[in-house]
């Protein structure tokens, strides 16, 4: 079973979200990177861009597939992981750490509670991830 840290929240599309004071850090889960295989490219928005919860914010490419990335919360992008441009494989190696993608300053608080808990996400992937 893929690693699902307890202190994070999750989307049904396999992104994780981490509360850091007023901000939310976003990445994809260990399960997601396992399913994708070797990540070769990550396309992320620019700092200052607006993202919307459950809407597409970028694209992750593995060797033979391209998948959309979905924002866990709405808000403004305040940081982007520039390292992934040169080292996209970081997403595979350390999905919850150095493989983070965005930091968002959320525009509404209510969305946080809509996200899956670690336990709910574990159940989701136990059922095959859909």
């Amino acid at each position: 079973m893929a690693n699902v840290p307890k202190d994070l929240k999750y989307t049904r599309e396999h992104e994780w979200a981490k509360q850091e004071g007023e901000r939310v850090r976003v990445g994809i889960t260990a399960y997601a990177q396992e399913q994708l295989g070797d990540v070769v490219f990550v396309e992320l928005p620019k700092v200052g861009a607006k993202v919307t919860a459950a809407k597409n914010f970028g694209v992750v490419e593995s060797v033979k597939a391209v998948s959309d990335l979905f924002a866990p919360v709405s808000g403004e992008v305040v940081e982007v992981n520039g390292e992934l441009g040169q080292k996209p494989e970081t997403v595979n190696q350390d999905p919850y750490g150095k493989g983070w993608m965005l930091v968002v300053k959320p525009s509404s608080k209510g969305e946080w509670d809509q996200l899956l808990t670690a336990q709910q996400y574990e159940e989701l992937i136990a059922q095959g991830g859909h």
Binding site: V40, F41, E43, V59, E61, S62, V63, K64, A65, V66, D68
Partner: protein, 449 residues
Amino acid sequence: MPSRYIANTPDEQKRMLGTLGAGSIEDLLVKIPPKARLGRPLGLTPALAETDLIRHMTALAGKNANAESHVSFLGAGSYDHYIPSPINHMILRGEFFTAYTPYQPEASQGTLRTIYEYQTMIAELTGMDVANASIYDGASSLAEAALMAHAVTDRREIVLSRAVHPLYKRVTATYCEGPGLRLRDVAAPEGVTDLAAARQLVNAKTAALVVQTPNFYGCLEDVAAAAETAHAAGALLVVVADPVNLGVLEGPGKLGADIVVGEGQGLGVPVGFGGPNLGVFAAKNELVRRMPGRLVGATVDRDGKRGFVLTLQTREQHIRRAKATSNICTNVALCALMATIYLATLGRRGLVRVGELSTAKAHYAAERLAKVPGVSLRFAAPFFKEFMLKLPKAPDRVIPRLAKQGFLAGVPLKTFDRALADSLLVAVTEKRTKAEIDAFAAALEKAVA
């Protein structure tokens, strides 16, 4: 009656019908309403014997004026450059003779290798990092570049010089209609793009500034200044260039272009009747993820031996689906092969020589033709192998007279721009001789008198 053009025999047809449980082919068609059916044989003339057919077709083809039957000064994107004989010999080989990028491409290492060589040579000529396996023609290359600039910058306006080929612009307008991109025009009143006017139009909404050099009128553009204008606003510079000229002219990539596109027909592809052509497409490395088209890469197999693969396919629509920059999933492989053999045959020195001879002969022709009474050069700007003449009589009347004397005089500009109704676009390649140019000048003198 069995036909020589239908592969299965009456016996085989009977067996297939038996399997289907049908008595005759007619039985298969009963669902088609009678009024939708012809009900009689097609009104074709009786079949000719092969020798008669060839005689007939040769007679029909003989009614065409072409670059073999006439001395051609036609250009406007399609040029009568010399085609070395190894090209025809090589492309007819069974291993090569296909119009397509192969499916299951890695099984065709030879084809992939020639495409790889093609990409390498185009990248070198254009001064860019990476070139694709080719696109249909110059027009679709430019249209794809506009979409790519939009994808890279997330901006919605394309600013085009009026001296960009008008047909390329029309194709670009068609491609841009779907995503709703706005095309804006910059004037080129003296034969070259008015860059001061461009600076007024290029702003934070601009995805790309597009110039062509030599442009549609044959004149050379200041690519470095255009690059500065585009980049100052955070836009890309797209340059349309003819690779056959790039043995002499600087690669636009060296002058600041972000994307270089163009018509590669001059690299050993016959003028045909408008095609098939060769769409050249090259870009900077950092933009490669948004580049359209097939891309061949070199790699090593598990034994460490060199091999070739289609690479970065996640850019393409069969994987990236709706988010792909482009929906092109093929290339003009045979024309790209012609260009590869052309460049390999000529080599560096040969290509430089083609450029030098073309421009020298074009300048001789311009000087000679401008001395014909009533005829003048439309623009004073420096040109390369093509120039615009202003005629004292309507080009539509002059051209047929010259054709009767064996000259394809040039492209009349009325259909492209009413303001240029008195003008003729004349192209001169290395193939033209002094005698041909002198004879053309004499014939023009009579035709406009």
